[in-house]
């Protein structure tokens, strides 16, 4: 046994030595007086132009570390689990469909960001400023322009259109239980037809041949006939649930870049998603976190955002890039559902929806 013990001793020393080194490496540069690093926890879709972030770092004297952890739902859930002992200072990426889950769990410290006055009132959903609105995006049905031109039928415009016989077997959507555009589309129908009518609508949609896949990637890049990915994968559905900003993406990442977007947006099918950021309770660097929140609603960041994350700014005087206004759609009357109503009914709606549509 003594052999084992000796090896054990040296092994433990090695293992712990490695982890101690790692721990030291992680916290180097941190001084007692004022933490120099701000850690931003977010989902995988967070992006910012490096030069824009650098400018903030130079002006504020902080270094920003970004920690991306999974999709929006998973990232928020990890924050809820680590409540009180967060991994970072600011969390970005809770949207209005999950807002009440975040607020009920009390993971944020209230802070009124400088510049909040410039943010549209319709986005300010929490009067206590536990969260700060950062961007908005509309979940809408997109259509393949070429398909409808060739068949000589008008593309659908509203939710009512989608259950008409001429659009039979054309739409692919995402699982509302696992995908945020899927949930958004379900909520659009709830917003339009109310708690009493949406089930009836989906029964008709199902009868009209709607197909459900697990996630956005599969729906948009595999099944949709209008996207670059879908064309390559021989997708055969000319209607898909995606975003109002998807057509500009097709143009900007086109190879070669087309002069007109190959896809369009059915403007009467949209649900508006608003994304928020908040200062985490128990943050090690509260001052830095506050500065970062100010930065997120600054004009500089807001104008950088559209081409980085393909969402709309919430600051009123932020200018949209030309590609965005030229190829994207502006949704005047999106469907909305109050966050409280979503919080109360989300689970039941999704369950009912699953038994109606998936099974």
């Amino acid at each position: 046994m003594s052999t084992t013990k000796k090896i054990a001793g040296s092994a433990l020393a090695v293992a712990l030595g490695v982890s101690t080194l790692a721990a030291c490496g992680g916290s180097s540069g941190g001084s007692e007086a004022k933490p120099k690093t701000i850690t931003l926890v977010s989902h995988d879709s967070f992006n910012v132009t490096p030069a824009v972030l650098k400018e903030f770092e130079q002006q504020s004297g902080y270094t920003v570390k970004v920690l991306k952890s999974g999709d929006a739902g998973a990232a928020l859930n990890q924050e809820i689990l680590t409540k009180g002992s967060p991994r970072g200072d600011v969390f970005f990426g809770v949207d209005n469909t999950l807002l009440s889950r975040a607020l009920d769990n009390g993971i944020f410290t209230p802070y009124e960001a400088k510049g909040l006055a410039g943010v549209g009132a319709e986005y300010q959903m929490d009067k206590e400023h536990r969260v700060t609105p950062v961007d908005s995006g509309d979940i809408c049905v997109n259509y393949d322009k070429a398909y409808f031109a060739e068949k000589k039928i008008a593309p659908p415009q509203t939710l009512d259109d989608l259950i008409k016989p001429e659009y039979k077997d054309l739409l692919v959507t995402e699982n509302a239980a696992t995908s945020s555009p899927g949930l958004g589309f379900l909520l659009a129908s709830v917003g339009k037809y109310g708690d009493a009518g949406w089930k009836d609508y989906w029964t008709k949609l199902k009868a009209n041949g709607v197909e459900v896949v697990d996630g956005w990637e599969q729906a948009y890049n595999q099944r949709f006939s209008g996207s670059a990915g879908g064309k390559k994968a021989k997708g055969d559905r000319p209607l898909v649930v995606s975003y109002a900003s998807s057509p500009p993406v097709e143009v900007i990442y086109g190879e070669p870049k087309p002069t007109e977007a190959p896809t369009g947006v059915a403007t009467g099918t949209c649900f508006r998603q608003v994304e928020f950021a908040g200062l985490l309770k128990g943050a090690k660097n509260e001052e830095g976190g506050k500065a970062l929140l100010d930065f997120l609603v600054s004009k500089k960041f807001q104008e950088d955002m559209p081409l980085q994350m393909f969402v709309n700014p919430v600051v009123k005087d932020a200018k949209l890039p030309e590609d965005f206004t030229k190829f994207g759609a502006v949704i005047d009357k999106p469907e909305t559902v109050a966050p409280d109503a979503i919080a109360k009914n989300r689970e039941q709606w999704v369950k009912t929806w699953s038994s109606l549509v998936v099974k």
Partner: protein, 538 residues
């Protein structure tokens, strides 16, 4: 024994218990009533039913297709055998994202079968079953074939001389000797398919869900911890039972069999029957294993401007994928290798010590410990990952944002492989040699270095190779804890697959191909080191 036990408790048992406890504990204390409530739900019933029957079907199909292969690899000599044996093992260590992708490229929309005959199998259970065969073919080849090659063919010949028919001789002599190995292989395949995650998620669509997928959905997406906790416990019990039966069959296999050097049992195929069998097996391997891998490689070269290295070159740009990465995707190779080296070191230390302890001591307790070390193979990565989040959050163990977390999680999966490889060899070391050294005045460390080490060096290298390959391919746990500026190869592949656009898809294929190459090379090196006398359990 203390070190592996401490490691196991700190980085596995404690986090898992904490997250399960969080799910089962209400404001007014424990709520075990939830177990019954959850299990009575019809949707959970569906999940349990699907998990079980698809695992049974996958296991049956794998045995059906791989047992002839095991025979051929054991008894026949043919050119390229060593290379082929390494190649069929590649899928086993490939991350499920890559396998799912390979199968989509083959049986999915616009896949090879679709283009040729209009056949699509995606979102059907067939795609899942075939992917599981692809994955586990090597488990049967190695476990059953390894033993089969060492069975003395003269015993069967003797039976035939005594008048038994060909089949009767096989049934009376070879089958009983082989049965425990077949059972062990079947149980391992059952374990891997019962806990299937990536394959089912990518190929199954919303209609199919295994326990493991459901645990992920309930935890990561719905934050329904009570349901997740109950499902984790159900899976725990099931996996524990499987491992228990597995340990029992392995012990049975260890009962004296007269084994011979495999080099003397194999011969070139003779006669039409044997040549046909060899041909059929090679065809199965080609269609089931080489074709999906080949499609992956083909796609990686099918760049927009004609065939070439276009996608590979794009991997060097940091801006690739619309800023999906903070660093060029190519750097993920370097990250993966570094993590794998650290994970291998940890797995070797922990696994080696555990194996040493298991050799020196007997009894029920130690056997239980043996099975315990296998448990991480069957517990949901999301459970471990989320467990890490809520337990390792205080100094000196606030490791949540530290890079060491990745190798630690990967080592958890590597340890069982190390233990399984080292154990038979260590048990074979004669204790008297060590005693003799001690009598002659050697310190315990010196005795170990001079006696044990030379004898086990080879097994140690093989164990290292396995731990290395496994950690290269580990995806489930890594995806939760890998830092965004340091993605591993599988994480980078998954991120690329999650973005729109042709370039991203092509780069995902190119990175998968690189990962495949790295795995194949480590396995080939392993083949060279394969000791003749031991039949490893993997």
């Amino acid at each position: 024994m203390a070190v592996p036990l401490a490691f196991f408790c700190l980085f596995f048992a404690y986090p898992v218990a904490a997250i399960v406890g969080r799910g089962l504990k209400g404001d007014d204390g424990w709520r075990f009533g939830r177990i019954g409530e959850v299990l009575a739900r019809p949707d959970i019933g569906d999940v349990l039913w699907f998990t079980t029957w698809q695992a049974l079907a996958s296991t049956a199909l794998t045995l059906l297709l791989a047992l002839p292969g095991a025979y051929v690899f054991a008894r026949f000599e043919f050119p390229g055998k060593q290379l082929l044996r390494a190649v069929v093992t590649v899928p086993f260590v490939l991350p499920t994202v890559v396998v799912g992708t390979a199968f989509l490229a083959l049986v999915g929309r616009g896949g090879l079968l679709d283009e040729l005959w209009g056949v699509r199998l995606d979102t059907t259970v067939w795609a899942i079953l075939l992917a599981h065969v692809f994955f586990n073919y090597a488990v049967v080849i190695r476990t059953v074939g390894g033993l089969w090659a060492q069975l003395d063919p003269r015993q069967e010949e003797a039976a035939r001389v005594l008048g038994a028919g060909r089949f009767a001789a096989w049934r009376r002599v070879t089958l009983p000797a082989l049965a425990p190995a077949v059972a062990a292989a079947a149980l391992m395949v059952f374990l891997f398919t019962f806990t299937s995650f990536g394959v089912v998620q990518i190929l199954g669509g919303p209609a199919y869900s295994t326990l493991e997928v459901e645990v992920y959905r309930q935890t990561a997406q719905l934050l329904d911890l009570p349901t997740a906790a109950v499902l984790t416990m159900v899976q725990f019990v099931a996996v524990g039972a499987i491992l228990g039966v597995h340990a029992w069959t392995v012990r049975k296999r260890e009962t004296a069999l007269r084994l011979v050097d495999p080099a003397h049992t194999a011969h070139r195929p003779r006669g039409t029957g044997q040549r046909l069998l060899l041909g059929a097996v090679l065809l199965t391997v080609a269609v089931l294993v080489l074709l999906p891998l080949g499609v992956l490689v083909e796609r990686s070269f099918d760049a927009p401007g004609g065939y070439g290295f276009g996608y590979y070159r794009a991997l060097q740009d940091a801006g690739a994928g619309g800023g999906t990465f903070l660093v060029p995707p190519l750097e993920s190779i370097w990250n993966s290798l570094q993590y794998a080296v650290a994970a291998t070191a940890i797995a070797l230390v922990i696994g080696g010590l555990a194996a040493a302890a298991l050799t020196r001591r007997g009894g029920r307790f130690v056997r239980g410990f043996d099975a315990l070390l296998m448990l991480p193979l069957g517990v949901s990565a999301v459970t471990v990952g989320f467990g890490f989040l809520i337990t390792l959050d205080e100094p000196p163990l606030d490791l949540r944002t530290s890079w060491i977390l990745v190798p630690l999680a990967q080592a958890l999966v590597g340890v069982p492989f190390v233990v399984r490889t080292m154990l038979p060899v260590l048990r074979a070391v004669d204790g008297r040699l060590r005693e003799a050294a001690a009598v002659l005045g050697a310190s315990p460390l010196r005795a170990w270095r001079e006696v044990d080490l030379p004898l086990v060096r080879r097994a140690l290298l093989i164990a290292a190779g396995f731990a290395f390959a496994v950690s290269l391919g580990e995806f489930g746990a890594t995806v939760f804890i890998a830092r965004p500026d340091r993605p591993t190869l599988p994480v980078a592949v998954a991120r690329l697959l999650g973005r729109a656009g042709e370039m991203n898809y092509g780069q995902a294929m190119a990175l998968s191909t690189i990962l495949m190459l790295v795995c194949a090379v480590s396995l080939l090196v392993l083949e060279r080191l394969r000791p003749d006398k031991t039949s490893g359990e993997f």
